[in-house]
Structures are given as structure tokens and as C-alpha cells.
């Protein structure tokens, strides 16, 4: 602040101005992108949430009616919110725990490490639509190999994607199959834990569990936190797998036009992002779709703000 009032040499001033112009030039693609593809649609979404609008005729002010409709007269909203929260809770927890377990395992493997690392990583690469269709086949009651094998072992054969009690666990299993991203992140973090700390713990007579509890976990906890927060944000967006699984399992697929029971079976795979699509693009209730979009935004931002704290390691001190 003080420097602003003291006279600045002309040469320095031109230099500063040139630096500002340079910064603006380098940032320019993103500055435009930020305005056109982020700020504008965000403001617009909030605006439409207070409008009666079908996407065709001119929007008219509707007060809080869309909000009242979504929260009080649209029971699917609470079903979708409940499913999304179920997935956030169960899927993220299991994925992080499983990813950490697989990461630990791969750091202990001595023989064929390269093979195992590739094998564990590959499913993460399968395109979501392809992976979901593969799982719809694998878990298909009657013809799928999974129920076939369960039957041979004399175990119960669930209906998976066709049973409302089993559809979300089936999606969770699909998400755990594609654990490669977390495995690599945890593997890198585990290899970074200083060896001396393990040796010191061993001298103190610590067993494997104690070593994990007092050495490994404190060292990797920032990465665990990172995995949880990004996992929550990703799961808030959970869309493709849920919609494809529902369509394939219900047997109603075939491009555009054909409608299928959203969230099949019995709304058990119905999530918030699907609601935006269904309300906005199939029922042409743009106003209500924007209400759901604003709620989705609010929840996601609440979790994003955890990443934006200085402590998170994402933002560095100047």
C-alpha cells in the first residue's frame, strides 16, 4: 500500500505495466473460458431457478415456486439426494479403503511387481460406458458368470442391477474394480514414507499394525484426505454408470427417443445429476432443473472449499 504513494521511477513503472500485460496475455485463453463457460452459466443457472421457463418461450419470473416444487412436491428429489448421499458415503469409503489396501499390497509384492501393477491398474482405463455394460453382463441374473459361480458354490444369487437392494452395491463394486487411480496415488505416497521412521519403530518393538498406525498413516494422511475429498466431489457427479446400468438392466435402450424408467429399478440408481438432465431435457422444466443444479453446486462447493484451505497443500503461501 505504502509503495503506491511513494513516487515510482518511470522505468520501473513501464516494466510493471509490461509485466501486467504479459500476465494477462498468458492467462487470456483461460480468462475468456472462465467468463463464458463458468461465470456466465453459473449466474444464469441461479437466475433461471427463479423463472418459469420451458427452454422455448420467454422466461417469466416465478418467485420461489420452482424451489417449493422441488423441495416439497417432487418426491424424486429426496430419493435422488438419498441415493447420491448413499453413494458418497459407501462408495467413497470403500474405494479409499480398498485403494489404500491395494496400494499397500503392491508395495509389498517382490515377484512380478510390474505384472501386478498393470493388472490392478487396467480396469481404471476401461471407458465407463463399456465397463458398465461389461458389469451388466457379468452380473446379469441367469446368464451372467458371477451368479453362475455363486450358484456353483451354493451361495445366494442376487439380482444385482435388477434388484433395488443390490443395484447400488453393484455400482459400488464397479467403482472398486476401477481403483487404479487411487492405487497409484497411494503407492507413490507409501514409497515416500521415510525408511528411518520404520526402522526406529522396529527398534521400539512395534508390530506391523502399530507401524501402520504410528508411522504409515500419519505420513500419508494428507493423501488420504485428498482422496476422500476428490472422491466425494466425483461421486456428487455420478451419472454415466448409473444411467447406463439402469438402461441396460431394464432392457430399454436404443438411442434417443425411447424413455426408460429413470433410476431403474425402483429409483434405486436415481442421482442428482440425472435429475438435472431429466427435468431440463426430457420434461422441459428448465426452472426446476436449475434449482437442482444450484443445490448440486452448493454441495460440491462445500467440499471443494476443503481443498482450497491453505493447509490442503493445493494453495501455497506467497
Amino acid at each position: 500500500m505504502a509503495t503506491a504513494s511513494t513516487p515510482v521511477p518511470a522505468a520501473l513503472r513501464t516494466k510493471r505495466r509490461r509485466e501486467a500485460a504479459r500476465t494477462a496475455a498468458f492467462l487470456s485463453p483461460w480468462l475468456i473460458g472462465f467468463g463464458v463457460f463458468f461465470a456466465y452459466p453459473l449466474v444464469s443457472t441461479v437466475y433461471f431457478s427463479f423463472m418459469k421457463y420451458d427452454g422455448f418461450t420467454a422466461p417469466t419470473f416465478n418467485g420461489l415456486k420452482n424451489w417449493d416444487y422441488v423441495l416439497n412436491h417432487y418426491p424424486s428429489f429426496w430419493t435422488g439426494l438419498g441415493n447420491t448421499l448413499w453413494l458418497v458415503l459407501v462408495m467413497v469409503t470403500l474405494r479409499v479403503a480398498f485403494g489404500l489396501g491395494i496400494g499397500l499390497l503392491i508395495t509389498k509384492v517382490k515377484t512380478g511387481a510390474g505384472f501386478f501393477r498393470t493388472a490392478f491398474y487396467l480396469p481404471y482405463l476401461a471407458p465407463p460406458v463399456a465397463a458398465t455394460m461389461a458389469f451388466a453382463f457379468l452380473l446379469n441374473p441367469g446368464t451372467g458368470p458371477v451368479d453362475h459361480l455363486l450358484g456353483e458354490l451354493g451361495l445366494p444369487q442376487p439380482g444385482w442391477f435388477t434388484d433395488p437392494d443390490w443395484s447400488k452395491p453393484a455400482l459400488t463394486m464397479l467403482a472398486m474394480w476401477g481403483i487404479g487411480d487411487l492405487m497409484v496415488i497411494f503407492m507413490a505416497a507409501l514409497l515416500d514414507v521415510p525408511r528411518e521412521q520404520y526402522e526406529a519403530a522396529e527398534l521400539d518393538g512395534a508390530g506391523p499394525l502399530q507401524k501402520f498406525r504410528y508411522v504409515t498413516f500419519p505420513n500419508i494422511s494428507p493423501i488420504v484426505m485428498f482422496a476422500v475429498v476428490t472422491g466425494v466431489i466425483q461421486t456428487m457427479q455420478y451419472y454415466t454408470q448409473a444411467i447406463v446400468a439402469g438402461k441396460v438392466a431394464s432392457g430399454v435402450i436404443g438411442g434417443s427417443g425411447q424413455q426408460f424408467e429413470p433410476g431403474y429399478p425402483h429409483g434405486s440408481t436415481w442421482t442428482l445429476p440425472q435429475m438435472v438432465y431429466n427435468l431440463g431435457f426430457q420434461r422441459f422444466d428448465t426452472g426446476s432443473a436449475c434449482v437442482v443444479a444450484v443445490i448440486l453446486f452448493a454441495i460440491s462447493m462445500a467440499f471443494t472449499s476443503l481443498l482450497l484451505r491453505r493447509k490442503s497443500g493445493f494453495i501455497d503461501e506467497d
Binding site: E19, F26, L27, L125, A130, T143, P222, V244
Partner: protein, 296 residues
């Protein structure tokens, strides 16, 4: 513990302790590798079952059989000849190639400025990048659709998905910035003393050093486009000529009713390019994933 016992009891007991330690190490090896084999089965068997089913006859694919009695490799050519399949390939390649190229070109200068320039509002800009990265696409999709449909009349094509990538992709900017932070300032100072302008420094000094990160960003973006389902569903679904593989694949089972064999063959044909690309660029990819996990 082995150390203290070895010190206390000389020679013979010491070798006994070593034997115990060796046996324990062997048991540990067996336990770890059995677990690893079990995990490998969980991750790989789905691929195997899908492959086996994809070559079954139409009739056998409807049974619970695991092993094909006859191997119908012709199923793959049947899938290939499905109306539309070739144009889905073309569209997907165009989307992925153009999207990747635009993303890299537009994101690198932004990442460089965020990593190496000192300016007011830098942290704010970084926070904005992270917020964009974390934003569910469904939040902004309605105004964006109206924008592309009513202002620019470009819906029914993939352009509404490709064009925004010329304006920086938040995830790519973030990943590139993380990498560029690790380039020592001295290199940039040296370039300046040699009379390089900022753009020349970026192209001649930073670009060659950042090749691994750029490769990782390019791969991620290529896979993102290849896998994208929501985008093509919103913007391209109304025009079957603009469909991509991920979007078309879903309609595939509809067209072939319950032909799991053809559906699984199509699934593998969509997955194969991604796997091939991964095997060629494995190192860059793994390094990229590690970079996103950031400094602890």
C-alpha cells in the same frame, strides 16, 4: 529382536534365528503373493469373461456357459459392419484429437503464468481453476445448451464440446502447474539473460522440460474425450451422424436385442484403443496420476 538373541547366544543359535527369520520371510512372501493373485483375478477376470462371451455363438451367449464351444471371431466383423459404427469411430477420433490438441495449446501458457509469474490475484486465480475443475458439468449444462442451441446453432454436433477446449481446461492447467512449479527459477533467469522473451522461454526452455507432464495431460484429455458420455448425450444425441463410440455403444445393445456376444465384442472394440495407448505411454500416464495426488 533377532539382533538381541543373536548377540546373546553365539554361533549355532544365531543360525537357528536366521532360519526362523528366513522361514518367516518366506511365509510373508507366500501370503503377499497369494493376496496379489486373488486381487489380480478380481481385476482381470471381467476382461476374460467379456472376451470369451464376445466370440460365442448367438445361442450360446444366452446360456450361463463360461467357455465358448465354437470360436466365432466373425462377431467382431459383424460389429464393425453395424450401421453407424464407423462414423462413431470417426467422430470419437475427431473429438479426442481436436480436443486434446486445443487443450494442450491453450492450457500450457496459463499453467506457466500461474506457476512462474508473480502477480496480484494469483492465488485467487488458482482457486478459481480448482473450483472449475471440481464443478459438476450438470450445474452449468442448461444455460450452456441454450447458448449453443440458440446463439450459435451448433447443437447436433460435437463442436459445443470441442470449442471450449480452446479456452483452457481446468484440470490440465492444474496438473501442468504442479509440474512447472518444480522447474528451478535459474533456468528461466538464464534464458532471460540470454535475451529470450517470455514466449520464447516458454517454447524453448520450459516446453522441452515439461514434456512428461504435457504427455500426461494429453493422455488424460484424450481418454476424457474418448470416454465422455454426458457431453455427446447433451449435444449430439439429436443427430445420429454426430454420435461417438461411448454414446453409440449404449444404443448398440438395443439394436442387437439380447445379443450379449456382439455387445461384448463392441465393448472390447471401444476399450481396446485406450488399452493400446496406455501400453505405449504407461510411464507418462502413471507419472501424471501421481502428480494429481500432489505434494503431501
Amino acid at each position: 529382536m533377532t539382533l538381541t538373541s543373536a548377540v546373546r547366544l553365539p554361533v549355532r543359535a544365531g543360525s537357528a534365528a536366521a532360519k526362523v527369520a528366513r522361514r518367516r520371510a518366506a511365509l510373508h512372501w507366500v501370503a503377499v503373493h497369494s493376496l496379489a493373485i486373488a486381487a489380480a483375478l478380481f481385476f482381470l477376470l471381467p476382461f476374460v469373461f467379456v472376451l470369451l462371451t464376445s466370440v460365442m455363438s448367438d445361442r450360446q451367449a444366452l446360456t450361463a456357459d463360461l467357455w465358448p464351444t465354437e470360436w466365432h471371431w466373425g462377431n467382431y466383423s459383424k460389429v464393425w459392419q453395424t450401421p453407424g459404427f464407423l462414423s462413431w469411430w470417426r467422430n470419437t477420433l475427431l473429438y479426442a484429437a481436436a480436443g486434446t490438441a486445443l487443450t494442450v495449446v491453450s492450457s500450457l501458457p496459463v499453467a506457466y503464468a500461474l506457476a512462474k509469474f508473480r502477480f496480484r490475484g494469483r492465488n485467487l486465480a488458482l482457486m478459481a481453476v480448482i473450483s472449475m475443475m471440481m464443478l459438476p458439468p450438470q450445474v452449468t449444462v442448461i444455460p450452456m445448451y441454450l447458448f449453443w442451441a440458440k446463439q450459435l446453432h451448433l447443437t447436433g454436433s460435437l463442436w459445443p464440446l470441442i470449442i471450449p477446449m480452446a479456452f483452457g481446461d481446468a484440470f490440465s492447467i492444474f496438473l501442468l502447474r504442479q509440474f512447472l512449479l518444480t522447474i528451478p527459477r535459474e533456468y528461466l533467469e538464464a534464458a532471460r539473460i540470454d535475451g529470450c522473451g517470455d514466449l520464447r522461454t516458454l517454447l524453448r526452455v520450459v516446453l522441452p522440460m515439461a514434456k512428461p507432464a504435457i504427455a500426461a495431460v494429453a493422455l488424460f484429455q484424450f481418454f476424457y474425450c474418448w470416454n465422455d458420455y454426458f457431453g455427446p448425450q447433451i449435444y449430439a444425441s439429436e443427430n445420429a451422424g454426430a454420435w461417438t463410440l461411448s454414446y453409440g455403444l449404449e444404443s448398440f445393445k438395443g439394436a442387437h436385442h439380447t445379443n450379449w456376444n456382439l455387445t461384448m465384442a463392441a465393448t472390447l472394440l471401444v476399450t481396446a484403443p485406450v488399452l493400446v495407448l496406455f501400453f505405449f505411454a504407461q510411464k507418462a500416464f502413471i507419472e501424471g496420476v501421481t502428480l494429481t495426488g500432489v505434494k503431501g
